[in-house]
């Protein structure tokens, strides 16, 4: 039987193993932030650090995280010293991690007496110290203020947990029980995947099967990239920081077979949580590039191999110690938008106007510990031939399934959600209209503190080819007298009194093309459906 068919059959088995690990982690975790699979990942890797299979139902932007961090684990704990049953843990943004709250866990899988594969899981845990509960402090000027730093450490062996380390972790969490629950979930995930990989290795020549699989994916990825016109294309996008703007600049060079993505010229890192660690930037780049190749390609090393990504050290997209990385989302989104802009130049007609992005926030109790972390989604940019969808997950490939429902939130927390609605007229005008942003009104029943983490609120998502920009969203405090006061896009521990409301408005997407050329039927439909009022 030919190698493609073998790869096809093995692919399913490996993918299922990674998927199963992610489901175990997501379903058994306590952190409500990840119950819908948003900020999580599971993967199978080999001892050379190659990504073999990745979970699909989790956030795509995490696709490079486990792959980026594993080499640092192996550096700290050479393979020869690993024993069956060992479990390693890390959250170091400078060593492939993301930020303090994203815990990465690895477990070696032994074959022939030595570690041959690794299974890995990642989730955003409930709390791990730092200035703000939940890990979204926007005034963290260095990494130490973001939360407990965890370089690669061995957290368990076949004999059980490293009790000392577990006590340290628990002591550094505002919600120690939940943290330990999340840790158990992470380990359960790597264990499940490890059992599957052990079975596969016992049944067949797994190493050869994986080599063939990755080589086939790589060949396919090269083939797909070769369809892009060769040349160098540039793009850039700004990240908001009060009155300042930090620019992410990219040059995408399409070569014979492969792509160079170079962030040379990107602004330097800043002493605020807007930088991104290299693994998150890489995840964003992979997501952006994969929007231009066969979407059915499996997520493994074969996709990474033909792509060279240069991220200057000490820049916004690759921060160095002690610069904080927790607010990376805006920078990653800017990197993605810059790659889209560059490739739009390569492929006119396939690009899009800019999109409103995911706007995160957290509300925590001022007098007792409770935490609501969530996000709302902005409107997508319009593109040639198509209006932008309303309030969906542009730039990370998710959907609104990650947004928790009103009833479970109110059953658990002292808040009342009064409105979740699209904002009429918020989509950028154009021959094709941008997607609408949303307004969410959350009244707190107790005194609370609010963290916000938004971008594209001061400079709303731009239109393309003559289209208008989307309506800028924002965060607001609605006082007891009903007056709405704006909160900073990156506010931290902003107080809300019992009875006041927190309002999140997401930005609408940019429009595409001259509004005068819009189909009158589409205008009439928008009026009828309430998407526009005039």
């Amino acid at each position: 039987m030919n190698a493609d068919l073998t790869a096809e059959i093995l692919r399913n088995a490996l993918r299922v193993a990674a998927e199963e690990a992610s489901i175990v982690v997501v379903r058994s975790a306590y952190s409500t932030f990840i119950v819908e699979g948003a900020d999580a990942a599971a993967a199978i890797l080999d001892a050379d650090g190659r990504l073999v299979a990745h979970s699909l139902s989790t956030a795509i932007v995490q696709c490079a995280s486990l792959r980026s961090a594993l080499p640092y684990v192996i550096d700290a704990y050479p393979l020869a010293g690993m024993r069956p049953g060992d479990v390693f843990c890390s959250n170091d943004v400078y060593q492939g991690g993301v930020h303090a709250n994203d815990l990465l866990v690895f477990r070696p899988v032994f074959a022939g007496g030595s570690p041959a594969y690794f299974t890995g899981t990642l989730i955003h845990v409930a709390d791990l110290s730092g200035l703000s509960a939940g890990g979204m402090a926007s005034d963290a000027t260095d990494v130490f203020l973001e939360g407990l730093q965890l370089p690669p450490v061995r957290i368990a062996t076949a004999a059980g947990w490293d009790e000392g380390l577990v006590r340290v972790l628990a002591a550094n969490s505002r919600t120690p029980e939940r943290l330990l629950g999340d840790l158990r979930a992470l380990v359960a995930g790597v264990n499940v995947a490890a059992r599957r990989v052990e079975t596969l290795a016992a049944e067949q020549d797994l190493a050869a099967g994986i080599d063939g699989y990755l080589a086939h994916t790589e060949a396919r990825m090269r083939e797909e990239l070769a369809r892009l016109p060769t040349g160098t294309y540039e793009g850039e996008y700004a990240v908001e920081d009060g009155d300042e703007r930090h620019r992410v600049r990219v040059a995408v060079t399409v070569r014979g077979e492969g792509v160079l993505v170079d962030f040379a010229g990107t602004d330097p890192q800043v002493a605020k949580p807007v930088n991104s660690g290299f693994s998150q930037t890489l995840g964003g780049v992979m997501y952006a590039l994969r929007c231009f190749v066969d979407p059915a390609l499996p997520m493994n090393e074969g996709c990474f191999a033909p792509v060279e990504v240069r991220m200057p050290e000490g820049s916004l997209v690759n921060c160095t110690k002690p610069y904080p990385g927790g607010g990376r989302w805006a920078t990653v989104a800017a990197a993605e938008e810059a790659v889209f802009a560059a490739l739009t130049r390569a492929l006119p007609g396939r690009g899009a106007a800019a999109s409103g992005i995911l706007q995160a926030f957290s509300i925590s109790g001022a007098t007792r510990p409770w935490l609501h972390m969530a996000f709302e989604l902005g409107g997508m940019g319009a593109r040639y031939g198509r209006d932008g969808p309303d309030a969906t997950g542009a730039l990370f490939g998710g959907g609104r399934n990650i947004i928790p429902q009103v009833e479970p939130i109110e059953a658990r927390l002292p808040v009342r959600i009064e409105e979740v609605a699209p904002i009429p007229d918020s989509g950028g005008r154009g021959r094709w209209r941008g997607g609408l942003g949303t307004r969410t009104v959350i009244r707190v029943l107790e005194d609370a503190l609010v963290d916000t983490r938004g971008d594209r609120l001061l400079d709303p998502p731009a239109g393309a080819e003559g289209g208008g920009h989307g309506r800028a969203g924002g965060y607001f405090r609605e006082r007891l007298d009903g007056v709405r006061e704006p909160l900073p896009p990156k506010a931290t521990r902003s107080p809300l009194r019992a009875g006041e409301a927190f309002v999140v408005e997401t930005s609408g997407g940019g429009g595409y093309g001259d509004p005068a050329e819009r189909d009158p039927d589409a205008v009439a439909r928008d009026l009828r459906d309430g998407r526009v009022t005039r």
């Binding site: 039987m1 379903r27 139902s57 029980e177 359960a188 979407p295 969808p389 459906d529």
Partner: protein
């Protein structure tokens, strides 16, 4: 007792009649424009075969994909949706997940919302999470909404207000105001009646779909009843529901969402029944027809039931990725379905071989049917490999030459392999895909499939069952008599049943057993009323509760011990939850648990007709055929099942044929035919 069971599938309509202890079977082509047409054709045929008068039919059970198709094809009734102020766009915004390929689609479109914005309304009112009224229903505003809904001329209304699962007063009042303004008989469906559980989005979609499908189902069932009456059948019509019971036709119309997995559920029920006859309680049903393959799990004799179901779901893990379809919160037999059936088309893309999900269906059918199909299917591959008998396939003669041509052109040449290699690859890939379905219901749930028996149902299943079993280390395969119409046979034995639930949020340690008892008793009374069971001693009652760790989001449904709820009953349920959690996630945790929901199912066992043994064997000369086993063609014995004597044994490799099915027994497997015509295969100890 004379019982008729009918199952309308995508390709074939199966009809089974039991009269005087004998089974009569007909398989007709499904007639999509008016499914009663094909059905009636089959019914007339079996009645004539059996020489039975239509009026003597006592029971008519029916499985239909109507509800699913109405939703997938968006041809339900025009519905208006009314909700709490501030949430008018709940359904349009949705909770859609983007999965796999579509996540990289910059031109992604979420599709049309399930109800257009012009038919969504909101009213001022608000309850707290515990059901306390915060803002009374604004009746003037409700009246204005009612007038606007009346002006739209919709066929039904769905109402879902926030927290109505905890207090249905506002929904009931609003429904009354609306009904008052609408033409008499217009269904006004409230979420607190349809599915009173926490989670407004799923409750709203379930309610909406009830309103959307119900009127269409009602019309269909009335037509079915009339058509049956025309041929003289006056027996009550019972419709299969997704959880494996049957509903009276009247209830099936008002609770149409309960029938969405009607057909597939029948297959699992049939598997459970067949297993029970062999004293086997742990089974995997494997139902493979022309378009899809479905796997379901039976443990301790009972099919697994899920309360999270996505119609039109997407994703490669059984098509049920949460958030990818329209979520419907009704109980359904837990099934995984993949687009691999006998008619699935094999194709080569970028050097890789794919099988399905496109199917050649009944028209034009596989290439070997010789009815104009030119694309290679799984059936064509199976024929080339010698697994199917060119002459022994019902009325149809299969054409190996056409199968070979199709495989050569579309698979072998592009891949640079010979036709047999291509056929073996198609067979293997189809097998791997079916394996995914089995994997989802077993391994993915932490269930080790090795101790289970695989039950093969549907025309294409026997050809693939033993190979599939080997993949999972399963040592026993059961192939019921007439397995080609296995789902319809399952209908004969389905119990009359209904399930109801209500949210019940409380920490398990502090929960008041008396309060839970009250809720369960109310639910039981409602179920009895649904089934018109006056006598409290009739019917079997199953009580269950949702349980999860306090602070987590995902709950397990745990059955409660029979009898009144006491502290001990709650504690036992918590222990059972801990065990299930450990089995599923490998985490031995005993943290505080909380109750989430109370459920009751009431069923009335079917007076199932007994079947006599098989027809006497019909002697047929022994034959052999070349078939592909272990990477080479071998000359293997071919037997007709009808020619076998009960107790007869056969050893693989061999092929057992019967009309519309072909049982492949690979090397290392031994089979025996039982008194009822079922074949039991066992894998010999490892060679």
């Amino acid at each position: 007792m004379t019982a008729l069971a009918t199952d309308i599938g995508g390709t074939f309509t199966d009809v089974v009649l039991v009269a005087d202890g004998r089974l009569h079977v007909a398989k007709t082509l499904t007639t999509p424009d008016d499914p009663t047409e094909g059905l009636l054709r089959g019914v007339r045929r079996v009645l004539a075969d059996a020489g039975v008068a239509p009026a003597s039919v006592d029971r008519f059970t029916h499985a239909t994909t109507l509800a699913t198709n109405v939703i997938l094809e968006r041809r339900g009734a025009a519905v208006a949706f009314v909700t709490t102020r501030g949430f008018r766009s709940m359904l349009a915004l949705g909770r859609q997940a983007r999965v796999e390929e579509e996540r990289y689609d910059l031109a992604y479109s979420p599709g049309e919302p399930p109800v257009p914005p012009t038919r969504t309304f909101e009213v001022p009112e608000r309850l707290a999470a515990d059901g306390t009224v915060l803002t009374p229903l604004d009746e003037d505003a409700a009246l204005r909404v009612a007038e606007r809904v009346a002006d739209l001329g919709v066929a039904a209304v769905a109402i879902c207000l926030l927290h109505s699962h905890a207090n249905d007063a506002h929904e009931r009042r609003l429904a009354a105001i609306l009904a008052d303004r609408l033409p008499a008989g217009t269904p006004v469906v409230t979420s607190s009646e349809v599915w009173p559980e926490l989670g407004e989005y799923e409750r709203a979609t379930t309610t909406l779909m009830s309103a959307y499908v119900g009127p269409v189902m009602g019309v269909y069932l009335r037509r079915l009843r009339d058509r049956l009456a025309e041929v003289g059948i006056t027996a009550p019509v019972h419709v299969m529901e997704s959880a494996g019971g049957v509903l009276p036709a009247g209830l099936a119309a008002s609770r149409a969402v309960y029938t969405i997995e009607s057909g597939p559920a029948a297959g699992v029920v049939a598997a459970a029944r067949e297993g029970a006859r062999h004293g086997l309680a742990d089974l995997i049903s494997f139902d493979m027809g022309g378009t899809t393959a479905k796997a379901g799990l039976v443990r301790d004799g009972r099919p697994g039931v899920t309360h999270e179901f996505q119609v039109g779901g997407k994703g490669s893990f059984g098509g049920r990725r949460p958030g990818t379809g329209v979520p419907i919160k009704v109980p359904a037999i837990d099934l995984a379905e993949v687009g691999s059936g006998g008619g699935s088309i094999a194709w080569v893309e970028a050097g890789g071989l794919r099988v399905g999900p496109r199917s050649a269906g009944a028209a034009p059918g596989p290439a070997c049917y010789g009815r104009g199909g030119t694309l290679p299917t799984v059936t064509d591959a199976d024929l080339v490999l010698g697994y199917l008998d060119p002459d022994g396939f019902g009325d149809l003669r299969l054409r190996p030459d056409l199968a070979e041509d199709a495989l050569a052109r579309h698979v072998a040449k592009p891949l640079g392999v010979d036709v047999v290699e291509a056929a073996a690859a198609v067979h293997d890939i189809a097998g791997a895909q079916m394996g995914t379905a089995v994997h989802v219901v077993t391994v993915r749930r932490g269930v080790d499939p090795r101790g289970f028996t695989l039950v093969a149902l549907g025309g294409a299943a026997p050809t693939h069952a033993a190979g599939l079993a080997e993949r999972f280390g399963i040592r026993r395969v059961l192939v019921p008599a007439r397995c080609g119409v296995g789902s319809a046979a399952g209908l004969l034995h389905a119990d009359l049943a209904i399930e109801r639930s209500r949210s019940f949020l409380a920490p398990a340690a502090a929960a008041d057993p008396a309060a839970l008892e009250t809720v369960l008793a109310d639910l039981e009374a409602a179920c009895r009323a649904d089934l018109a069971l006056g006598d409290a001693r009739r019917g079997r009652v199953t009580r269950a509760a949702g349980l999860r760790f306090a602070g987590q989001a995902h709950a397990f449904t745990v059955e409660l011990r029979p009898g009144p709820v006491t502290r001990e009953v709650v504690d036992a349920a918590v222990q059972e939850f801990y065990a299930r959690y450990r089995a599923s996630y490998g985490i031995d945790l005993h943290d505080p648990a909380e109750l989430t929901v109370a459920r009751v199912r009431v069923s009335l066992p079917a007076g199932a007709p007994d079947l006599r043994g098989t027809e006497p064997p019909r002697p047929v000369p022994a034959r052999t055929r070349r078939a592909w086993f272990g990477g080479a063609f071998r000359e293997v014995p071919v037997r007709e099942r009808a020619a076998c004597v009960p107790g007869e044994r056969f050893a693989g490799p061999c092929v057992i044929t019967e009309p519309q099915a072909s049982l492949v027994v690979p090397p290392g497997w031994n089979g025996v035919l039982d008194d009822h015509g079922a074949v039991s295969l066992e894998r010999a100890e490892d060679p």
